[in-house]
Symmetry: C2
């Protein structure tokens, strides 16, 4: 570990996030099957913003107020919701210029949990290169937060983190002294030759199959299908744009001064 | 996953244990560097029993009552203690027929945490085959609990779990649908050709080096240096013996009836 390098850490469960939180780090929230893949698709397809909410009660309240709501638990669309959790739900026709309130089993809670860090971005294989470029441009320590499955470790999120850690460390700007980062990189080495075959080991792959929701697999493990990086600004997730982000930071700073 | 097979799960942090606890499972507590390796060495070398305590305050109280006390935090022996956390501390000359009260940074807390399961056993590379044989003879679901480092994932405990999961599954009596079990097995495949080289990635290896405590590495990753399996009976860890264990279960059952 060279002290002048930015540090990468991987948190494999939201239940451990308090051990990893750093105010000054960028947090990449990862829920490959399917929340963060779906958010990347929605933002790419022109959704104005996504509002992540942790509980179904909050999601239902927003529905009653007239919002478009995506809400899922254990893979299944909730009866009051307009959308489920498949990235294929969020087509341009359905999402363009809309605000969508979003609640999922694991992913949206993780996003809210990280909101006190310097920046929260949404990571998926489908926005891999765009995200990597933004992380390098921001030049901060990176914590990758796996949404996992009900606080347990899951393979698919870890593979993404391993792939991203490998790519960042190849830039020579990043280092790590974090055991889960080394382990994730090595797991990615084992899997990357045939990710779709490797993912047969993942419990979530079989949950999706059981519910006939596994049409998303090939898409979810494809690199660079989208070019935008969803970023949390206050209560909403928007496509990252440099000028918008800087304005948001100024406002946030102003608010902090006003306290 | 065939339903007639015993199930293996791996819990990579004590902070997640509540997600894995099953009353009817055997819990294998793993803290390779160095608590569970040290306990195996102490029991093999004739210690009468080890009493794991979670806090230093408890350890100090026992010391004041005249017990032999092993107490360590962040790798360093506590000033009031007779022993530190190195397996080389627990020589036959020092431990034979003694009761030793034991408190470590991560390991002893994990042992107490699991005590409501059917059986808590102590796992290390140095008692690998003896432990594997006992697990197979007991014929129960197995939860391996990594002590980790301050609730974070650590490589060395995960490697042990991967090795043990591989060995149990090779018996064809065990299966898994647990992502961390598959990942641990694959990590073990990467490491097993040269474990001492692989362990250079582990943060704990460098913590030990910094404190000049890394003389234990080769021993800690050696298979089958000991033949006994330490098992928790009530408040104490003893060498497993079938007749003693059955008597303990009868007493426990009797106590339950008496409640």
């Amino acid at each position: 570990m060279l002290p002048d390098k930015r540090q990468i850490e991987i948190c494999i469960s939201p239940a451990l996030y308090h051990k990893f939180h750093k105010d000054e780090a960028i947090v990449v929230v990862v829920d490959i099957l399917r929340a963060t893949t779906a958010i990347c698709a929605a933002i790419e397809n022109g959704a104005k913003e996504i509002r992540p909410v942790s509980t179904l009660e909050e999601a239902r309240e927003f529905k009653n107020k007239g919002f478009w709501v995506a809400a899922e638990r254990d893979g299944l669309v909730q009866d009051f919701a307009d959308f489920g959790n498949s990235p294929f739900n969020f087509t341009p026709e359905r999402v363009k210029d809309k605000t969508i309130v979003y609640s999922t089993t694991n992913g949206t809670h993780s996003i809210r949990m990280a909101q006190k860090s310097a920046m929260v971005v949404i990571g998926a294989f489908i926005n891999f290169s765009a995200l990597k470029d933004l992380l390098i441009a921001e030049n901060k320590d990176v914590v990758m937060l796996c949404a996992g499955w009900k606080d347990k470790f899951c393979i698919e999120d870890t593979l993404f983190c391993g792939a991203m850690a490998e790519a960042l460390m190849a830039s020579n700007l990043y280092g790590t002294s974090c055991d889960s980062t080394y382990a994730s990189i090595d797991l990615w080495q084992v899997a990357k030759g045939n990710v779709l075959q490797y993912i047969e080991k993942a419990a979530q792959r079989h949950r999706l199959k059981k519910n006939k929701l596994d049409d998303v697999l090939e898409y979810s493990f494809s690199f660079d299908k989208t070019k935008s990086v969803p970023v949390l600004m206050g209560d909403a997730i928007l496509a990252y744009k440099k000028d918008k982000w800087e304005k948001f930071l100024q406002i946030k700073k102003g608010e902090a001064i006003n306290y």
